[in-house]
């Protein structure tokens, strides 16, 4: 599965379009990480626990998107966009969407 965030896949030609595919996940942070982040907050800097959490969820959202594209028979997703929004205090939705194509 080839992913790009431009309208084409450089060096390849798009044969067929399959329309929009998307994947999303809503994740909540767990208590232990939250507590550690609270301590970390005093001195500032990177909160590794959160970075990992959001990376994991982003990968999952992308995976779900790719899965959907595969089901359609596509072998690439172009124009991929990522979005994050907090749905509740302590929970975030990660959304990935793009256009499934065959090259």
């Amino acid at each position: 599965m080839i992913l790009t965030n431009i309208e084409t896949i450089p060096g390849k030609k798009v044969q067929e379009h399959y329309g929009l595919v998307q994947g999303s996940t809503i994740r909540a942070k767990h208590f232990g990480r939250d507590l550690m982040a609270g301590f970390k907050n005093i001195v500032g800097g990177e909160l590794k626990g959160y970075t990992e959490l959001l990376q994991e969820s982003r990968n999952q959202a992308l995976e779900r998107m790719c899965q959907q594209a595969e089901e359609l028979g596509a072998n690439a997703v172009i124009n991929v966009r990522l979005a994050t929004s907090s749905v509740a205090a302590g929970a975030a939705e990660i959304l990935a969407y793009g256009t499934a194509v065959r090259v």
Binding site: T4, I6, I42, G45
Partner: protein, 181 residues
């Protein structure tokens, strides 16, 4: 007693936060040098021909502000104006996210259509601390060996002077996006 805790937190935030920031900037500087020759642009068209590989590169980081700076910014919010204490935070976040994006596909020759996004995890209002997530993503282009890769198209992080207006990759005003304070 509460005052003592407050002062201790303030000092801790000031001293440790400052040294951490300095260390982080040093590491950013060293790591950025490795990618100096790789154009990172917001244009959508690759600068060369004969592309062998294209892939999505993503980098993200969650950074938070220290106790001392948060205290400073709460003062600033009375009078309004630029929150200078937040600028290094977002600057660090953006540069780190860009670096991680590049490090996720280190062999690429060029990173095109680079996008950056800031989202607030906690706004820093009330008792909460200001914490933001910065995401950078782009399409990493690898050229086939022996192809002509034009050298003139090297608008990277540090060559800001000659960039056309649509290729302003470095955000000039960190602290404007995603912070509602």
């Amino acid at each position: 007693m509460e005052l003592v805790i407050f002062i201790v937190l303030l000092l801790l935030g000031f001293i440790v936060g400052k040294s951490k920031e300095r260390r982080h900037y040093r590491s950013i500087g060293i790591r950025e040098e490795a990618f100096l020759d790789k154009p990172t642009i917001t244009a959508r068209v690759p600068s060369g021909e004969n592309i062998s590989h294209a892939a999505l590169a993503i980098g993200s980081v969650v950074v938070s502000i220290d106790y001392f700076k948060r205290f400073l910014s709460s003062w600033r919010m009375i009078f309004g104006g630029e929150l200078k204490s937040y600028s290094p935070l977002l600057d660090r976040g953006k540069r780190e996210a860009l670096l991680r994006m590049k490090e996720s596909v280190p062999r690429a020759d060029e990173y095109i259509n680079c996008r950056m996004e800031t989202s607030t995890i906690s706004s820093g209002k009330g008792k909460a601390m200001g914490t933001v997530e910065v995401i950078a993503y782009s399409t990493a282009i690898t050229y086939a060996k022996g192809s002509t890769h034009p050298d003139q198209a090297t608008e990277d992080l540090h060559a800001e002077s000659e960039e056309p207006p649509e290729e302003n990759i470095r955000t000039e005003a960190p602290g404007t996006a995603g912070l509602d304070g």
